[in-house]
Symmetry: C2
Subunit: 267 residues, 2 copies
DNA sequence: CCATATTTGTCCGTATGTATT
DNA sequence: GAATACATACGGACAAATATG
C-alpha cells in the first residue's frame, strides 16, 4: 500500500470548534427558560411533535435533548402522557449520581466524603440553630422520635431515620446549596458503604450513642447555640462512621471532628 | 400528610416501577464496564451500527444513550470519526457544571452562596494547613505574587488572581469534593455579581485589605495552624463580598464570618 | 368500566457532512 | 483525490402507555 502523507489528524481539528448540534440548541433553550423564570417547576413542555415544529428539528434530536435534560434532573418524561415533559424542582438526585461515580472513579476515599459531609453538616446545624422556628423544632422532635422507634428495627432502618434527621436539619438551615449538597453526599456515602454495614453486636451501642448525639444537636438548635451545634454535628458524623475508616484516615478525620471542640463536649 | 411508619418493608416497594428503557440498558452497561475496569480512558466504543447489534436495540436508542453518557462526561463523540466514541478520563467538569446549574436553578441568593462558600473555604484552608507540603507553599506564594501584581490592573484582574489563590488552597486540601464544590460556588458567585462590580474609589482599599487577609491565611497554612486558617478564610470572604449584601443578609453572614473567632484576629 | 385519541418509546430507511485510509 | 466508514440529522411507522369522554 502506497504511503500517504500523514494529514496531521489532530492539528486541523485542534481548535476543537465543533459545530453546535441540533439537540444542544433545544437543551440550551430549555435551560435558559428555566433559569430565566419563564419555565418553573411543575410547568409542562409541549409534546415532542410540537417541539419539532417549535425548534424546526427532527424528533430524534428532540428526544436526544429530552434525554440530556432528564439526566441532569431538569425534566421528567412518562410514556403516553399527553401533557408532555414536566419541569422538575432542583433536586440532589443527579448530583448524587455524579458524586458517587466520581468518588469511585477518582478512588476518592470514604474519608474524603466524610470530611466533606462533616463540613456541610456542621454548617447546616449552625445555620439551623440560628434560624429555627418553633415549627422546625417540632419536625426535629418527630425525626428524633422516628429514630427512637427504629432502634428495634435494626441498623438499616435506623440509618434511614438518621439520614432523615439530617435532611430535616439541612432544610431548616434554609440554604439550598448546603441542603442539596448535603443530601447528595449523604446518599453517596450510603451507596459506597452499602454492604459493608452488617449486623454487629455493637449495633445497639452505636445506635444509642448516635441517638444521644442527635439529642445534643437538637438541644443546641433549640437553644440557638450555633457554636455548639456546629461542633456536635461534626463529632456526630465521626462517631457514626469512624469505625469504617482505616487507622490513618481515622486520625485525619478525627482531627477535624474534635476540632476546636468547646469544653464540656462529647468524649 | 400521613406520617405513619411503614410496618412492613413491602410498603417501600409501593413505588411505581417504570419499565427500564432501551437506552438505559446501554448507559448502565457502559458505566458498569468503566467502573469495573474493562473500559479505560482512551478506549474506543464500537461504532453505533455495531452497538445496535451488540445490544439489540435501535440506533435511536444507542444515540440517546450516547448523549446521556456524553453529558455525564463518560464519553466523547466526533462526527465522522471511524474509531467511534472515546472513553474520557474521569474529570470533575460535569459535577462542577451541575453544581453551578443547581445554584442558579435553586434561586440561591448571594447570601446563600456566600455562606456555602465560606463553609467550603474554611474547610479547605483548614485541611490545607494540615496537609501542605513545602512545594504547596511555593505555589501559594506564587498566587500571592500574582495578586500583588494585579493590584495595578483593576478589580477585575485582581478578582481573577484572588479566585486563583482560592483554587490553589482548595487543591492543597487534597479533598476532591471540597475542591470541586468550591470551584462551582466560586464560579456561581462570579456569575451572579458580574456587572455589579464596578470601579469604585474604595477599590484600592478593598484590594489591599484582601491582600492582607490572604497573607494571613497563607501564614496560618505555613505554620500549619488549621484553627486560625479556618476562621481567617471565613472572614476573608465576608470582607471581600460583604458590602454587596443588604443589611439583613450582611448581619447573618457576618455572624458566621466572625463565628468563634479566636482572640487577636481581624477587626 | 370501556372505547378512543394522543403521546411516548422504539425501530427502520435515507440523506449529508466529516474523518480516516 | 477517491473510497470507505462514521456521526449527525431527518421522516415515517408501529406498539405500549396514558388521559379523557
Amino acid at each position: 500500500m502506497a504511503v500517504s502523507i500523514p494529514r496531521t489528524p489532530e492539528s486541523v481539528t485542534g481548535k476543537q470548534q465543533r459545530t453546535p448540534r441540533a439537540f444542544e440548541m433545544v437543551v440550551d433553550h430549555v435551560e435558559q427558560s428555566v433559569l430565566q423564570g419563564s419555565l418553573k417547576a411543575g410547568d409542562r413542555l409541549p409534546g415532542e411533535r410540537e417541539l419539532v415544529n417549535r425548534f424546526a428539528v427532527s424528533r430524534s434530536s428532540i428526544r436526544e435533548a429530552m434525554r440530556v435534560l432528564e439526566s441532569s434532573g431538569v425534566i421528567s418524561t412518562r410514556p403516553g402522557d399527553p401533557r408532555g415533559a414536566i419541569i422538575l424542582p432542583p433536586t440532589s438526585d443527579p448530583l448524587r449520581k455524579l458524586m458517587t461515580k466520581l468518588a469511585v472513579f477518582s478512588r476518592s476515599s470514604l474519608a474524603d466524603l466524610l470530611l466533606y459531609r462533616m463540613t456541610l453538616e456542621s454548617a447546616a446545624s449552625s445555620l439551623a440553630a440560628s434560624r429555627r422556628s418553633a415549627g422546625d423544632l417540632l419536625e426535629l422532635e418527630k425525626a428524633m422520635a422516628r429514630m427512637t422507634q427504629c432502634l428495634e428495627l435494626g441498623l438499616e432502618e435506623f440509618s434511614r431515620a438518621d439520614l432523615n434527621f439530617h435532611d430535616v436539619v439541612a432544610r431548616i438551615s434554609r440554604n439550598p446549596m448546603i441542603q442539596i449538597s448535603g443530601e447528595a453526599v449523604r446518599a453517596s456515602i450510603e451507596d459506597l458503604i452499602k454492604g459493608y454495614l452488617r449486623e454487629s453486636s455493637e449495633d445497639r451501642v452505636l445506635m444509642h450513642r448516635t441517638l444521644h448525639h442527635h439529642r445534643e444537636v437538637l438541644e443546641a438548635i433549640r437553644s440557638q447555640d450555633a457554636h455548639v451545634a456546629e461542633h456536635l454535628a461534626r463529632s456526630s458524623i465521626f462517631e457514626y462512621y469512624g469505625h469504617l475508616l482505616g487507622d490513618s484516615d481515622r486520625l485525619a478525620v478525627a482531627a477535624l471532628a474534635s476540632f476546636g471542640t468547646p469544653a464540656g463536649s462529647v468524649q
